[in-house]
């Protein structure tokens, strides 16, 4: 978690927690706190007194917190200090697969409906306020609620459409890979851009026609219109509660109607097309199990996890949270669907491209952390991955070793030699410029950063598993 240091104070305000004047997150003595400002007093009291907080926490929709007697960071503006339950690994919408973003969207709408019943509403609908915790989405911003009065429109409608609906529509109707656009557009996809990129057929879908296409048009018309002198406020009673509920239901129906187009890419079918025999698979599985049981890690990064087969082996042999990262959004989609089906609370599938991992972005480049900043892991798994990086992406083995050394304390890596059919496939259409790509060359490159703890030839294959400890 990125935190801006306050020299000498030993306490820091979170670098992404500054837009909402209602309060902010800060860290002290390694613990996470949230200062609630006096300006938010009425809304916070209503959230707690109305029973809304209790109901949302009971359903697992909102992060629970304790009110604590902790000195605030800024006493003059403070009303309360709370200590929220901490999320062990923060992920971002541009790292989620389609169904993760869809579930986050549906959760936001369910919370909005529940809030309305308690006389409140969501004053923001940022996808960054949702995190995946124990296998399910959860709202982490306790200060997202405000008192609702009949007539108020939903202030977060535009934000919801930009953060959720527009990217979901593009992923569903054009290509799953367009979810990555959220990395460029941190406040969600501009609706005029989404409207241009979506196929014309989406205009025959009532939800997409209104909430994306007409919404983009309305924004454009409003932008080009002359503002009224002194910008006087209009009388408030404009959107009835039934109208607001209708709007929320329409958004929900539109989101539910969008689905991930799974075409079974090469990656999703990977295990069917490789030369894995049952013996090879079982041998590899046993080594992973033994390693994880012996090291008892708390955080495992499975890089190039595909649909998460070995992530599940690791999760099943420990109490670790396993980040199951792959660059293919379809593989991650399949992985997440399985997490949902099995109610798996120890696996977090994420779309991460190791050749270009999520950078630090946002204001001052510190609002959202890079993928590597969220480490190191206790154990990194790099199974059937190295040949894709070293040969498929021309990364020298020394650089690979240096990078892996930054990511975790232990590394379980699979070396796939040139004679393996998967490497042959990578080399069939290009020149072999990798004279040092062999087990000895690999071990030489990794010896500069790691201590080799164990070498395990995988039965029924020419592959080798190597367990390294960082020096």
């Amino acid at each position: 978690m990125t935190l801006s240091p306050e020299p000498g104070s030993g306490q820091v305000q979170h670098t992404a927690s500054f837009r909402d004047p209602s309060g902010y997150i800060f860290r002290r003595r390694g613990q996470l706190f949230r200062q609630i400002n006096a300006v938010y007093r009425r809304d916070y009291d209503l959230l707690m007194a109305s029973g809304l907080y209790q109901r949302l926490v009971e359903r697992g929709w909102l992060i629970p917190h304790q009110e604590v007697q902790e000195d605030p960071l800024e006493p003059s503006s403070c009303y309360r200090v709370i200590q929220p339950e901490e999320i062990p690994f923060i992920s971002y919408p541009y790292e989620w697969c389609f169904s993760q973003l869809k579930d986050a969207a549906l959760l936001t709408l369910s919370i909005q409906r529940e809030a309305l019943q308690a006389g409140m509403m969501l004053k923001d609908a940022s996808a960054y306020n949702i995190q995946f915790h124990k296998g399910k989405p959860i709202l982490i911003d306790t200060l997202s609620f405000t008192a609702y009065e009949e007539g108020m429109p939903w202030v977060a409608y535009r934000q919801f459409c930009q953060h959720f609906l527009a990217p979901l529509a593009l992923m569903s109707r054009v290509d799953l890979r367009l979810g990555r656009l959220l990395m460029v557009h941190m406040d969600g996809l501009p609706l005029d851009l989404a409207s241009r990129l979506l196929p014309g057929s989406t205009r025959f879908n009532f939800g997409l026609l209104t909430h994306v296409h007409l919404h983009a048009r309305a924004q454009q018309v409003a932008f080009t219109a002359t503002p009224a002198p002194n910008n006087p406020r209009y009388p408030g009673k404009r959107l009835s509660k039934a109208g607001l509920i209708g709007l929320i239901e329409s958004l929900g129906a539109t989101v539910r109607g969008l689905n991930a187009p799974i075409r079974k890419t090469g990656w999703v079918e990977y295990y069917h097309h490789t030369n894995y025999t049952n013996t090879t698979f079982e041998s590899k599985k046993r080594y992973v199990q033994e390693t994880v049981q012996r090291l008892a890690p708390r955080l495992v990064w499975d890089l190039g996890a595909n649909t998460g087969v070995f992530s599940r082996v690791a999760a099943g042999s420990s109490n670790a949270l396993v980040i199951s990262a792959d660059y293919d959004p379809e593989a991650v989609e399949v992985n997440y669907q399985q997490v949902k089906r099995e109610h798996d609370s120890s696996l977090l599938p994420l779309v991460i491209d190791l050749t270009n991992p999520s950078p630090a972005i946002g204001w001052d480049n510190t609002e959202r952390e890079s993928f590597y900043q969220r480490g190191p892991a206790d154990l990194v798994l790099a199974l059937a991955l190295v040949h894709h990086l070293a040969i498929g992406n021309n990364v020298p083995l020394e650089r690979l070793a240096a990078t892996f050394a930054r990511l975790g304390r232990y590394l379980l890596v699979e070396f796939v030699p040139k004679e393996d059919s998967q490497v042959q496939k990578l080399l069939q259409s290009r020149e072999d410029i990798f004279p040092d790509y062999h087990l000895e060359g690999f071990k030489r490159a990794f010896a500069r950063h790691f201590q080799l703890e164990k070498e395990m030839p995988i039965e029924g294959s020419a592959r080798t598993l190597l367990l390294y400890r960082k020096v």
């Binding site: 300006v39 429109p153 977060a156 535009r158 009224a228 709007l247």
Partner: protein
């Protein structure tokens, strides 16, 4: 065309997200259309309740 669209609810100091003039306008129009449907649904719920028909629970996301 002149727009008078800084709404009264923005007097609240916690409202830090710009709702967007066009987005507010569209909501008001859509609300008028969709609100009718909700009103009919609510009426239907009440009629169903009179005959003892149970409503399905709102599914979790």
């Amino acid at each position: 065309m002149r727009l008078h669209l800084k709404p009264t609810f923005l007097g609240d100091h916690n409202m830090y997200v710009d709702p967007g003039t066009g987005s507010v306008l569209l909501q008001i129009i859509l609300g008028a259309i969709l609100g009718g449907g909700v009103a009919i649904k609510l009426l239907w719920k009440r009629i169903s309740a009179l005959f003892g028909k149970k409503e399905p629970h709102d599914p979790q996301p």
